[in-house]
Amino acid sequence: MASDHASHGAGHVSPVSLYVTIFLALMVLTGVTVGAAFVNLGQFNFLVAMIIAVFKASLVIWYFMHVKYQSPLTRLTVATGLFFLAILLGMMLIDYSSKGFTPMPPPTDDDSVLGAPGAPPPH
């Protein structure tokens, strides 16, 4: 057989209580993320929001989407997607984050010009 992992019958049937728990956890985390947005954490607002979102997504993937009970290949597929998304975002950031290293002409006061791309807009 080609399949290196054989599941039989109906696969894993999760108890209803687990699903309800996950649902409640997701609702609470939604509340937390909204609440956190109204607290001034400076740079960390974004980080907190993203950590909560990643955690929520992980709950959905792990329990609702049954990845917990799937073969390692399924987990590898998910990981591949995230890895290449990281490549897309990370390699683009290499460009955008280092643009400012090169001296640029000073931004103009002219309202019609936003300043050179790459440099942050005038503050």
Binding site: A10, F38, L88
Partner: protein, 255 residues
């Protein structure tokens, strides 16, 4: 012949009616479908990934514009939709569970409930979009950043509620700059939520077929792959929203 080929018979046991001819066993067929669906979701990650990449760059460049424009979205409707969508994920998971445990009526009911919640989400989205159209906040030739505040001011002179805190926020960007750069935010907003909504419409379409099939009694604990596949899809759409909500609605709410 260089490759000796031995024959092996894997057709000893009786076939399930849903088993296709080119698969040897039901587990093989199911695993192929699960893997195929996950590979499809992999492409979806990268599909939305392109939008997230654009969002990331512009949010850093024009943070203030993003923060200002983000406050124009209604936290009430956005939060409500998040709750609705998470709820629909729960009902979807229950529908799959119903199929797994041979409960035909329960499967159909949970699926219908999921579709109703999906429709509620889309209805709320229509309300939100209408508000954007009414306020000239759709990017393009008619876009007018100032209209929202002007209308609020005109509506009730001393009435301070429409733009809470706007007065005390000192903005570095001039109205002209906001007029331009907030359009980038709203372009991304409409593209992201629009594509997300499109995915939901497709999901509801898929589910109506699955519901009909479930009603016909096509599924049992040996074969419920279509229910499970549409479930995976629906949960993925939910995950996209889990990220869209803080990125679009909660850029900077504390000021």
């Amino acid at each position: 012949m260089s490759n000796a080929v031995a024959q092996a018979d894997h057709h000893a046991h009786a076939h399930h009616p849903a088993q296709q001819h080119h698969f040897d066993t039901m587990p093989q067929q199911k695993e192929a479908a699960v893997l195929g669906m996950w590979v499809f979701l992999l492409t979806e990650i990268l599909f939305f990934g392109g939008l997230f990449a654009a969002y990331m760059i512009y949010r850093v460049w024009y943070f203030e514009a993003f923060a200002e424009a983000s406050r124009r979205l209604s936290l009430f409707w956005g939060g409500l939709n998040t709750a609705v969508l998470i709820g629909s994920s729960l009902t979807m998971a229950m529908a799959v569970r119903g199929a797994q445990t041979n409960k035909r009526t329960a499967t159909v009911n949970w699926l219908i409930l999921t579709m109703i919640l999906g429709a509620v989400f889309l209805g709320v989205k229509v309300i939100e979009y209408q508000d954007k159209f009414a306020n000239y906040e759709v990017p393009g030739a008619t876009y007018n950043w100032m209209y929202h505040d002007e209308r609020a001011a005109a509506a009730g002179g001393e009435h301070a509620a429409p733009a809470p805190g706007a007065a005390h926020r000192q903005l570095a960007l001039s109205p002209g700059q906001l007029q331009r750069t907030t359009q980038i935010y709203f372009s991304l907003y409409f593209t992201m939520t629009g594509l997300h909504a499109l995915h939901m419409i497709i999901g509801i379409g898929l589910m109506s077929v699955i519901t009909w099939m479930a009603w016909q009694g096509k599924f049992d604990d040996q074969y419920y792959t279509p229910v499970e596949m549409s479930g995976l899809y629906w949960h993925f759409v939910d995950i996209v929203w889990i990220f869209l909500f803080p990125l679009l609605y909660l850029v900077e709410r504390h000021q």
